[in-house]
Subunit: 276 residues, 2 copies
């Protein structure tokens, strides 16, 4: 979604993606785009129906030119995998034979391990209509299949390539929880900061007759403290809340402390709307 990619590292490595007899140029382009999003770069086509190069593919690739320009065409699947050492076949249905069947997350880890050992690997994807033939599956070392809805399995090749590319990228992260950017450090403030804020709030409420009847005050304070302790507010959040309480205090009908309402309201809203 973000487009400002200047000066950022372009990841372009990893397994070869092989499309066997793809029909639509748009699908090939969407495959290239999916690959580029997750750092894959080498695309091979076995007998693309509408030939190669393809204007439709390039348009659908959405600037993944580094993938489109390196794409090669092969007469047979054997030829397309000839220089590879380890190959996955993607398939939606069980096949007889001697192939281990892996989930995408496992397959990606296998590919990552082999990549780090310097091995050349690939992933075979079948035709739009009926996938890979049994003979093509038999050329692969292992099978990978996606955990789809049993009554609605209708992944197209660009979607299947997207999922494998995504798992490939994830397999290279230090942690599956790693993100490109982080939220603020959500470290809870020290309790003395929280309690100082709660004291402030309690005083402000007491001054306005919130604690009625008086004998219920301890229970009401206790509830207030529970509600405002559970969120584990950070220093920044408590600072914001202190500002809210201070602002509200100013406009007590009997004892107004502030002045110039419109300017104050604008400043009060700022902390929420200025998010970069």
């Amino acid at each position: 979604m973000a487009d400002d990619n200047r000066d950022r590292p372009l990841i372009a490595e990893g397994p070869v993606v092989i499309l066997v007899e793809p029909q639509l140029g748009e699908n090939i382009g969407m495959v290239a785009r999916a690959m580029a999003n997750f750092g894959l770069a080498e695309l091979r086509l076995v007998n693309p129906r509408d030939g190669w190069p393809s204007d439709k593919a390039r348009a659908a690739a959405s600037r993944a030119d580094h993938v489109i320009e390196r794409t090669t065409v092969h007469a047979t699947t054997e030829d397309a995998i000839a220089d590879l050492g380890f190959v996955y076949a993607t398939t939606a249905r069980a096949r007889d034979g001697f192939k281990p069947v892996r989930a995408p997350v496992e397959a990606a880890r296998v590919l990552r391990t082999r990549f780090r050992a310097g091995q050349r690997t690939g992933i075979l994807f079948g035709r739009e209509k009926f996938g890979l033939s049994n003979e093509e599956v038999s050329l692969a070392d292992e099978i990978v299949t996606f955990p789809v809805n049993p009554a609605f399995s209708s992944l197209n090749i660009a979607q299947a390539v997207l999922l494998m590319s995504y798992e490939w990228m994830k397999s290279g992260l230090a942690s599956e929880a790693q993100t490109a950017f982080c939220g603020p450090q959500m470290e809870p403030a020290q309790k003395q900061t929280l309690h100082s804020f709660l004291d402030h709030l309690e005083d402000a409420l007491a001054a306005r007759g919130y604690f009625r009847p008086a004998e219920k005050r301890p229970k009401m304070v206790s509830n207030l403290r529970s509600v405002l302790t559970r969120p584990a507010f950070t220093d920044a959040e408590i600072k914001l809340l202190r500002g809210v309480i201070s602002s509200l205090e100013r406009y007590s009908p009997t004892e107004p402390r502030g002045a110039g309402a419109p300017a104050q309201r604008t400043r009060g809203a700022k902390s929420e709307n200025d998010d970069g």
Copy 2:
């Protein structure tokens, strides 16, 4: 890829997917298809540019009619999430504010935990061109972002929905390694089965003068055993290999044991080509 889905359970539950001001009907349809593949069913649209219902959306949904027919249209994002208790915003770029940022796999686990507790949840996806506004992000509880290629981040909304739907489905599996079907049990055969095969092979080779000079036989046998021990062959595989050796033995030039070569060759190839 497989289409024979009769009598299989249709999964249709989980978080609501909310598209904010989607432009193209095709994208809405691809979103519905992505959701259906991974068991999500409830789609809401905030101000779709080209109106609703949409023939283009239905065509692109590829039979995900149960999603298309339930899709609702809302005037504002607030309205679209009014009945939900916990909401993610998807975004490709960092935002200021007080939101935790999660990777998809983590976010899906949070959603699954809340789903199991009976809570209603949702995921906000932004416009094709510029995603969600800061105000829209501020409506969400947490942020989810995808681990894309730093220099090529160009996920469209259908791809983003596909990835979150896939992680949602995965979060419900007993194990991330679970697959809809399994390969054969790849349990290695007992060593006595392997060694009996190796003895057979050694005898067949000895009868044909393979071990020359004779004093090298122990080293040659040792190498042969090493090569054929490493694959950890299963019972079924050793049975197949025994058949191969027996078949080759028959056609020794000096002592042919078999007859009717073409019929035998067809049978010999059968075990590879008959995969269902």
